[in-house]
Symmetry: C2
Subunit: 208 residues, 2 copies
């Protein structure tokens, strides 16, 4: 298909498609004339993926580029790809809160989780704990335990539900989308549940 | 204390403090001379709050302004304040996915949650569902049910743990911080748990 048809099929404007091509988020089409290229269903799938990562994940062009480059590397296992996606998604830099990082590592050890030393979310948890302490005084890292247990149950379900390891590009893309979209859904559902429980408490109505 | 001491007490640079004063995120100090103002412990607390909302919540100055204005309004109940904080925190605009919004409302009805019609997270869930469908085909809204149940248990614990309704500014600030910081922690913990379960699956080691 031509670029105009690709735009119609995905709802992404032609100018945006050309920008993604320049930034390498979308592989080039097959050149059929000096100013014309042919695109395939693979481009449609990739554009939908980029769109979801932009709109729901609120990811930068750079972060999406890291993910699409990894998707196009057939030597990566699904586990490696998940690691690259997590690094692109996580908003955290190296922490300066070394006491809190020790506390977080003790929590992860208690949970028995097998986490790589450079996982940005380890640093992010240390920053979150330091922030809590800055506004609310001494708080134990155990405050995160109910959240860790809920996350553990959800992640076990998510990983068990993935199709067996294989070269299916769609399955891998779905893993990345799932991490972003279900993450956004979980955050939204927690706030909605807070609203519900806050309303119940205020009205004195029985909890469900 | 002087502005330089306020900066030392909080680690926020003087130029940033002046910016927050201009934007109304921080109430003015008491003027003691033409070019000098006195600040109190209340300013220290407020600056720490703004810092956490910036660094962990990644909120815009505008969103933080909506929260601090609400904090300074003694006529608001804690439930109303939570609603204002949720609106400032939620990254979602009005959805264009009306089919998905109907599905989300059916899910919320099934859960028995009491949600206001203009909650942005309702719209956000509809967008998330539309995104999933755009990359993965027909998917039922029930895909969110395990996330909703986990969110329900966490929110019930969070709201029950709040001190009784009262004018305590610290308690209210802590509610806002908790929504942002525990939300970031939950997202980070879910990704860490995914890494753990993905590693367990790859290595064929027993799950914990």
């Amino acid at each position: 298909m031509r670029v105009s048809e690709l735009s119609r099929a995905t709802g992404v404007p032609v100018a945006t498609i050309k920008y993604y091509l320049r930034e390498g988020l979308l592989p080039p089409g097959e050149q059929t004339a000096t100013n014309q290229a042919e695109y395939t269903d693979r481009h449609v799938d990739r554009l939908r993926l980029v769109r979801v990562l932009r709109e729901i994940g609120d990811l930068s062009i750079e972060a999406i580029g890291a993910i699409t480059t990894a998707l196009d590397d057939p030597s990566l296992s699904r586990h490696q790809l998940l690691g690259i996606a997590h690094r692109a998604i996580s908003p955290f830099d190296a922490t300066t809160h070394t006491n809190e990082l020790e506390d977080v590592d003790r929590l992860l050890g208690q949970l028995g989780w097998d986490i790589s030393a450079d996982a940005p979310d380890r640093q992010g948890l240390a920053d979150a704990l330091a922030s809590l302490r800055s506004v609310a005084g001494p708080i134990s890292v155990d405050t995160f335990m109910p959240y860790a247990q809920a996350a553990d149950a959800l992640a076990a379900m998510e990983i068990a539900g993935l199709p067996d390891e294989g070269p299916s590009e769609r399955a891998v893309e779905y893993t990345v989308v799932g991490t972003v979209v279900y993450g956004a859904a979980l955050s939204a559902l927690r706030r909605l549940a807070q609203e519900h429980h806050s309303a119940s408490r205020r009205h004195g109505t029985p909890e469900h």
